[in-house]
Symmetry: C2
Subunit: 228 residues, 2 copies
Amino acid sequence: MEKLESRSLAEQAADNIEQLIIENRWTPGEKLPNEMDMVENLGVGRGTVREAIKILESRNVVEIRRGKGTFVCDNIGKVGDPLGFRFASDKKKLAEDLSDFRAMLEPQIAEIAAQKATDKDIEELQRLCSEVEHMIINGENYSERDVEFHTKIASVTGNSVVEQIIPLIAQGVSIYVDLTNHELAGTAVITHQKVVDAIRNHDSDAAYEAMKAHMKENRENLELVKKK
Amino acid sequence: MEKLESRSLAEQAADNIEQLIIENRWTPGEKLPNEMDMVENLGVGRGTVREAIKILESRNVVEIRRGKGTFVCDNIGKVGDPLGFRFASDKKKLAEDLSDFRAMLEPQIAEIAAQKATDKDIEELQRLCSEVEHMIINGENYSERDVEFHTKIASVTGNSVVEQIIPLIAQGVSIYVDLTNHELAGTAVITHQKVVDAIRNHDSDAAYEAMKAHMKENRENLELVKKK
């Protein structure tokens, strides 16, 4: 009973510190007040402040740097696997659902990216595209770079939600790449380049169609794997 | 230094317990082995097991029921605000981005729902639609029920990712409803009903168009609010 109450005090303190961060608009990298200031500010004991900081660390809100203090996290409040994909009992169904979900979104994302891409964006996209190609040819694991490629297109849209969701569901890419054992990756080289070319030409329709084809290809490869 | 190591031991233990849950396919509601069994199983001290359980509690993987033990969470591994929307400094930009994001997805979701909805689904949708209507007419806060309505359509698709993402971004609905102060909600009554009618008729195209119109209307209302 006592334990539970002390925990909930710490959770309250954690929520209060979050409010401080929001109201004071403390940004990533900013240092939080030290422990004693927090104790005074929040009107709770030192142990509660410490526990609250630990809770905020597990929520990815702050990070503790040894001997330096407590700082606001870079990806404040963002969690690695927020939808609990690691607990999905049927990984193939999950891969299919992720693949279908991406097919709904990414063609439209490519369409917008073709309208908004700057020369610098296009250069970066071509670099990522070529790196993925290089890795596929060499039989290396390219899934992380592939996620970067798709995330870069998402970020060109300027929509913060799209930019956050794409890497999230692109976890599905790695699940997919594991499933297919890189055997069917070759085709991605061609469709990736078609997407980049369309974006370079600021051709929205072509970008939409190229990404749609890429998504269709990914989905079909998934079916091939299932039939094995 | 000592503290850090003990923390990382606890994190390791937490990861190991997650692996046990995944490998043994323990499902929500299932009871975990007691503390002493964990101590033996994981080869770590009692204090570390306790800290690991606390970490898993903060990750929404387990819940501790007083006097009863530790159980696998209902929404295992799913976090309330996984994208850290509460830290967005520009709430209006966030509302717009969420609105644009939904406009990309939800018409396609309604299209699929029209193909797959059972009589029971349609009955449930009509019930939610009527409840939202009732609440709007009475000037009540209908945002939670509205999220339920959109989430129900998403769940009809049978795509687990869609089903998880929609309530997540539908947080945007509440942000939107706060922004508009319910003043512009009246139009939602009509477009919601059009979506339900199209799904009832299993008319995919009409469902797509009705949801598209609903999203457009939401987005335009957001613009009106901005101009005040």
